[in-house]
Subunit: 348 residues, 2 copies
């Protein structure tokens, strides 16, 4: 698989490291606008042994044109509006693309007009475009739907993810307000510029998978402070200058007056008992628990790479979601095929 990387931030760099270690993959391009990165060789930038003739460039057009690439893995931002031109350039050059952009997990939620435009552009070139990652894209949506395969007459689905931002990279900590005062964090929350992006996308993916007609989606982001018991329904802090310890983010999706989906993320410094939990109210009822929670960044890299392999030979062209892919690692081949021992070694 020949991969062009578009964006070498923390996710893009981690993806590059994983791909450089994979003998089945060749990196055929690396794009980033950061002047500290451009002009450098990829191995050197990533502080990896060995050398590659791939140089990081700030020129997407030239790098895309220098292909052939089998796929572009894109990782530059969370909001579709900020990155739509980049995706259009990739599609315009005729390449399939998997992006870590959270809103792209279900772009009809954030920007239905842009979603239609991207779908047309991908179809015009006969390639697939999709958003992937661990959240959104796996733990609060695809895994939920996988679990639902063993139940029926589902009435309600609840998903909870509890994590300690201190175990994550600095950029993530900043995203949940660590290092800010209560007042600063609340201003950013009001702007819509702080918090996890993706709950809404996950809820829409689950609703689509379940065949639910969702009529309302309510989201709430609450800033948490040190020495303060989290009170779900209050936004008052003891002091506007109190240091922020994280966020509690909740979403409720309803069909009419019936609550169908409840999602909650508690991202709090020092929180004990980090975990992911899925509860499906159906026949039978099902409870899934992942102790410690799925590690975010590392799993996002895996989800992106697995999705990339599927996107190279997609079920159809156009804008896809993870619901269109088999919930399986990329080295899955269709039933009836067999793999040689050499393949097995490479996969293992």
């Amino acid at each position: 698989m020949r991969v062009c990387l578009y964006g070498l931030g923390s996710i893009g760099s981690a993806t590059a490291r994983a791909l450089l270690a994979d003998p089945d993959v060749r990196i055929t391009g690396a794009i980033d606008v950061d002047p500290r990165k451009t002009g450098r060789g990829l191995h050197s930038l990533l502080r990896m042994r060995g050398s590659s003739d791939v140089e990081v460039t700030a020129d997407p057009a030239a790098t895309l044109a220098s292909g052939p690439h089998d796929i572009v893995i894109h990782s530059t931002g969370s909001r579709l509006k900020q990155i739509v031109a980049q995706l259009e350039q990739i599609l315009g050059a005729g390449f399939p693309c998997v992006t870590s952009c959270e809103e792209m997990a279900f772009p009809e939620a954030a920007a239905p007009g842009l979603a239609r435009r991207l779908d047309r552009a991908a179809r015009a070139k006969g390639v697939a475009l999709l958003g992937a990652g661990v959240n959104p894209g796996f733990v609060m949506d695809a895994l939920v739907l996988a679990l639902s395969g063993a139940t029926r007459e589902v009435e309600h689905i609840a998903v909870e993810r509890v994590l300690d931002p201190l175990s994550r990279r600095r950029v993530f900590q900043k995203k949940v307000g660590i290092g800010m005062t209560w007042k600063e964090a609340n201003r950013l929350v009001s702007d819509g510029s702080m918090g996890h992006v993706g709950l809404r996308e996950s809820a829409h993916l689950v609703a689509r998978g379940m065949g639910w007609n969702i009529t309302s989606v309510d989201e709430d982001v609450r800033v948490l402070c040190a020495d303060e018991a989290p009170k779900p329904r209050s936004r008052r802090a003891s002091h506007p200058d109190a240091p922020v310890t994280g966020l509690r983010q909740t979403l409720i999706a309803r069909s009419g007056r019936t609550e169908r989906i409840r999602m909650e993320m508690l991202m709090q410094a020092g929180v004990e008992g980090a975990h992911d939990a899925i509860t499906i109210n159906g026949h039978p009822g099902l409870n899934l628990w992942i102790q410690g929670g799925i590690p975010g960044d590392e799993a996002t890299v895996s989800c992106l790479i697995n999705a990339a392999r599927h996107a190279v030979a997609p079920p159809r062209a156009g804008l896809l979601t993870v619901l269109d892919l088999p919930l399986r690692p990329s080295h899955f081949r269709s039933s009836g095929s067999s793999r040689s021992p050499a393949d097995a070694t490479a996969a293992g």
Copy 2:
């Protein structure tokens, strides 16, 4: 969906009850050889309110011919050799079929010749045939592969299912030796006529999904007795007449000398901490836990019904496995479609 039921044992009857309660489903035939069941109306047999014009018959040919049926849900036995003629009759009549027969989850393992014959028969009629259920078919295989979507470079997969047979139906208790002496149970284990059928099938499904070339599969069934600490590697009991409390069944699958898959089922009367657990050794490592374990019979009914809806419009004709189906409830429609509120109500 018009469903013909073939086999009205505990799984078949529970499936019938679920289907009779579903307004989207009509039961168009019911077959069982038990003279206590034949000639009776389905509602009366299942002690359900209401009445149906469906009468249980012992004549598969006539009942199949009385269609049209969209699907036959078959549930008469665990071993392929015992039921292959029934499946051939169903396919011969031109109907797609989902069966709870455990060996049919991956029939190439138990009877590759029969698997090829069934594949040809299904292809000849352009219909799908597959085995489904919770185990094999979900918790120790499909769910494992779904989880693996968030990791890569997987080295090893371990799956454990711990359950208390006293919480299950009498037939299941007998299957694991409850009510027998150690000596009796060991004779049946040596015959291969006692124990859970399906570990081998699950291991093959996981290996296929992971792209692993499995060169050896070792299975061990150990009879457990009262007041005896389970010693995994010993078959000696304190007394041949000691009452059996259950079985510990293990499987190890290897690629060459590398252990790839370890599966263990502990089915022991009064066992505490029933659960299902999946551990994937990859990047990242993943641990999934289902407290209490997925309820076997109820989930098998759900798995059968979900698989039946997929098998009506399968990705291709022939012998399929659950790997060929989306890991999603049956009411999932492909991305881009939307559902009417009426649909949503029916699904809910």
